[in-house]
């Protein structure tokens, strides 16, 4: 057994190790020695062995074998060993370790020790790592100590009580009387502890309070407001007290805590807020703000004033203090000023607007934290009157902005521009500017939003397409910009080729130039697959807008007919078909698009597919309400039919050049209830006439019959009836149905959801089917129910529906 070295020797040895390997060697030797020492019985060097172990632990090496030694040392009668033992307990044991329960008894004994320093060790350890059980056990002890005469112990007991209340909320009631009486102490340490305890009691979690049906203690502690005001006044007015003075402020720590407690008490109480008004005004005006301490107290005062029901003069004073902070040369002060202004920008908007200039200047600050705060605050300050200058500043900021703030900045600029744009042209310019500077960090919805904006600004088509064309020529790396540019060139290519434009300098663009540009996009490896799709479609659209190079377009399109990318291949093949077989339809299909209705439910079809609408007015704004479709007129595409087991997932693009419609969602299903097959649209009432029915499912006494009735040329009413002939009741009976892709399904609510035994009652459910394409109607039905506590599920396929004469098998 190697002799153990003193602690400092060991530290020196570890520090002088030149490599990690050497250090590990030293530590392993030491740990072995320590373990051997632990196994020996009591010797004088136990405390410094544990200290060595704690040092090793701090370096990051495992030290769990010291846990039991900590427990033993805490129980030792020697103070030096207790001290190190408790330190070890705080470092090595936490409430998740089993060994922590073993020290509960030692702590209990030490809490009643005759020596106050031993008591303080126990209190400190309990406050640091006391688990909920330990807290429950020892709470009465702590309460007793709160009433002792020793102020040293009292202050520690108060903070221990704070920890107990945090861990076990319902023990708070135990400490209420003691907390109240502690406020009359003179000792600052005890006062501070008392204020913290009362704050903790008032801040208790409201859900926990509701659960234990306890009352919120804020009303109880409102009676302490005059005392707190008195104490604060004493601190401010009193002369120099050497014990608590920090740069001229008397006990700033206590002042700040009292201000925080006053904030909590005055938050919802008019009378309490009135009682504090004078005091807060006094603190705000008298506190010296040249040093950080003074500013800390002022800051807390400002937060309190803004949070309670203060009078307006006081609020103005508070905002002015924040304004002064903004001009302070110290970055920290500016940072916290902006943080506080952020909190009140909603309520005191005008007051904050006065400082807009300074805030915008902070955007140019070197420091990343200050920049972030300035950005958030600037975005909140944008309004209709200052939109132009603010966006100018923000765009400037965007060009030199740190990458982690780019996404936030772009989305903020877009939202602000959308809300307050003074003119469409300005709006488009702004979006284009953002796309060119930070196109990689914009959200996906930007492309359809921008396209919608462009189409609605019909007088600016010429200007827009020229600008976008120029942008495309300079840089094709920003995907969103390229996508929009391609789309515009496709749509308004004729305006581009005409060359004349009032708003920008005219530039002569030939058809070859345009096709070259689009081909570059198609062939560039920087373009994503979606971008290529845009470019191909744009090329196709140009075939009706240009006159000379239609053959070139045909060749481009046919090349992509064998592209590896399936999406592009499909498009190219369809366009080829459009050239070959449907040339007579080409002009009509590729003509200028009408105004797109903005679908606000975040339709995932972000690409500008060719979509036409029902009759829309051209003056629709982006935030219009959705119109419920007339029932049988509009075959709405079932993009949300996830249980479509007979056709796979639906593709995002339309299959054929035939016009497809946008799914117009009614407000009832706007929540995106994708799996709601039991009642999406309003149920159309249909009389259930007796119709030929067939039994489609029969098992375990559960029978399902199906009967159909043709309502009109393409719609069908199917009635499902379920009965239970078995001996036991069935509950939670649900039916789900799936149909082929082009058929629409609409399930009404079932008549009941439980089936009592022996056919006492039956369940009916009406299903409306709409089959415009007259495909073979098949249906797959999933049945699920619970019987005698166990769940059951089954599926049945119906290949031919009874009552449909013409429907045959495939």
């Amino acid at each position: 057994m190697s002799p153990s070295v003193p602690l400092q020797e060991m530290i020196r040895a570890i520090r002088s190790a030149r490599t990690q390997c050497e250090e590990r060697g030293v530590i392993q030797r030491e740990c072995a020695a320590i373990r051997a020492q632990f196994r020996q019985s009591d010797n004088g060097g136990r405390s410094h062995n544990l200290a060595k172990l704690l040092y090793v632990h701090m370096l990051g090496y495992p030290a769990h074998f010291g846990q039991m030694e900590c427990v033993r040392m805490i129980a030792s009668p020697r103070y030096s060993e207790k001290r190190v033992g408790y330190l070890g307990a705080m470092m090595l044991l936490d409430e998740k370790q089993d060994a922590s329960l073993l020290i509960t008894n030692s702590i209990k004994n030490d809490l009643s020790h005759s020596n106050q320093y031993v008591q303080s060790l126990a209190l400190c350890t309990l406050a640091c790592m006391g688990s909920a059980e330990m807290c429950r056990d020892l709470a009465p002890e702590i309460d007793r100590l709160l009433q002792s005469s020793n102020s040293y112990i009292k202050k520690k007991a108060a903070l221990c009580a704070v920890h107990i209340v945090r861990k076990v909320q319902d023990l708070g009631e135990l400490f209420v009387p003691a907390a109240r009486s502690l406020l009359s102490e003179k000792n600052h340490g005890v006062l501070h502890g008392a204020v913290v305890l009362i704050t903790q009691l008032c801040e208790r979690n409201p859900e926990t309070l509701k659960r234990f049906r306890k009352v919120c203690l804020v009303w109880f502690f409102l009676q302490t407001v005059p005392d707190l005001v008195q104490i604060m006044k004493g601190l401010i007015i009193s002369g120099y007290s050497p014990e608590h003075d920090v740069s001229g402020i008397s006990d700033p720590f206590l002042q700040v805590r009292i201000l925080r407690l006053l904030r909590i008490l005055g938050r919802n109480s008019e009378s309490a807020s009135d009682a504090m008004n004078d005091l807060l005004a006094q603190v705000a005006t008298n506190t010296d703000s040249t040093k950080t301490v003074g500013n800390a107290v002022l800051y807390e005062t400002v937060l309190t004033v803004l949070d309670i029901k203060s009078e307006s003069g006081l609020r103005v004073l508070a905002v002015n203090i924040l304004g002064r902070f903004l001009l302070n040369s110290d970055r920290n002060i500016r940072y916290i000023a902006m943080t506080s202004l952020q909190k009140i920008v909603g309520t005191d908007h005008n007051a904050v607007q006065r400082h807009r200039g300074t805030i915008v200047d902070c955007l140019k600050d070197q420091d990343a934290s200050v920049k972030r705060r300035a950005l958030e605050l600037s975005l909140a300050l944008v309004s209709a009157s200052n939109i132009r200058s603010m966006i100018k500043e923000l765009l400037l900021f965007l060009s030199s902005c740190p990458p982690e703030l780019k996404a936030q900045a772009t989305s903020g600029i877009f939202i602000a521009a959308e809300r307050y744009a003074p003119s469409k042209r300005w709006h488009i310019d702004t979006i284009l500017h953002v796309l060119t500077t930070a196109g990689g960090d914009v959200r996906d919805e930007t492309v359809p939003n921008l396209i919608h904006l462009i189409t609605s600004a019909s007088e600016l088509h010429c200007y827009t397409v020229h600008k976008l064309y120029r942008a495309l020529l300079t840089d094709i790396s920003q995907q969103s910009l390229v996508q929009v540019a391609c789309w515009c060139i496709g749509e308004y290519g004729d305006l581009l080729l005409k060359g004349e434009c009032q708003e920008t300098e005219p530039v002569q663009v030939s058809e070859d130039d345009v096709l070259d540009a689009l081909e570059t996009v198609l062939q560039s490896h920087m373009s994503s697959s979606a971008t290529r799709g845009f470019a191909l479609t744009a090329t196709m659209k140009l075939s009706t807008r240009i006159t000379d190079n239609v053959d070139r377009i045909r060749s481009i399109v046919s090349i992509y007919g064998s592209c590896i990318d399936v999406e592009l291949q499909q498009r190219a093949v369809e366009y080829n078909a459009l050239f070959k077989k449907y040339d007579h339809m080409r002009a009509a299909v590729l003509e200028r698009m009408p105004l797109i209705e903005k679908n606000n439910s975040g339709n995932a079809n972000g690409e500008a597919t060719r979509e036409t609408l029902t009759e829309t007015n051209s003056s629709r704004t982006a935030q219009e309400e959705r119109v419920p479709p007339p029932p049988q007129q509009q075959p709405a595409k079932q993009t949300y039919d996830l249980l479509d087991l007979l056709g796979g997932a639906s593709e995002p693009l339309q299959q054929s050049p035939a016009a497809q419609t946008l799914p117009i969602i009614t407000s009832s299903s706007a929540g995106g209830d994708l799996l709601d097959l039991l009642g999406g649209l309003e149920p159309t009432p249909g009389p259930v006439t007796p119709a030929p029915s067939a039994t489609v499912y029969e098992k375990d006494g559960v029978t399902l019959t199906l009967s159909c009735e043709q309502q009109s040329d393409s719609s069908l009413a199917v009635t499902l009836t379920a009965t239970n002939a078995s001996q036991s009741d069935i509950s939670g009976f649900t039916l789900q149905a799936a149909v082929p892709k082009s058929v629409q399904l609409n399930m009404n609510a079932p008549s009941r959801d439980s089936l009592p035994a022996q056919g006492a009652a039956q369940l009916t459910q009406l299903v409306m089917l709409n089959n415009p394409n007259k495909v073979n109607l098949k249906m797959r039905i999933r049945i699920s129910y619970t019987r005698q506590g166990s769940a059951f599920q089954d599926m049945v396929q119906v290949d031919s529906l009874p009552g449909l004469g013409a429907a045959g098998h495939t």
Partner: protein, 189 residues
Amino acid sequence: MMRFLLLFSRQGKLRLQKWFTPITEREKKKIIRDMTTLVLARQPRSCNFLQWKDLKIIYKRYASLYFCLAVENQENELLALEVIHRYVELLDKYFGNVCELDIIFNFEKAYFILDEFLMGGEIQETSKQMVNRSIEASDMLQEVRCTGTNAHPDLNHTRSIVISHVVFICLFAGVGILKRLGFWCFTKQ
């Protein structure tokens, strides 16, 4: 409430860690890594406040040590700066012109001082003198109660203070006795 206090050197070596909430060892290691990377990457004259997850981080550099304190969102950051400063002052008073080596070789003392100043994530004692007095008294208690030849080998200077005090007292006592003897001699004569 404060969540944790970390002290680390410019090279990222941890010198002191105090956790005020129960966290697993793994989490602790991760937090230490995150903190050292975040704080050491900051520019020299930048703001002392950071936002990290849902906590505010206040850090300050004193000589070769970074003091990093994490507080909850409703705390006052400027006051947290003052807390760090107060702790440094306490260390300075105790060790006399404290430097990083003092904290390395006497880390348990640094913890004891911290435990007299902060407790359960809150400030315990707002008066510097009170904290110093408590530390000195605990140290003296430790010395007095230390029995056997294997006494604490790490000499702290309070021990030397005690010894020097005792010597002084003996001297004074001796002088007093001599004086009295002299007086007696005088009067006797």
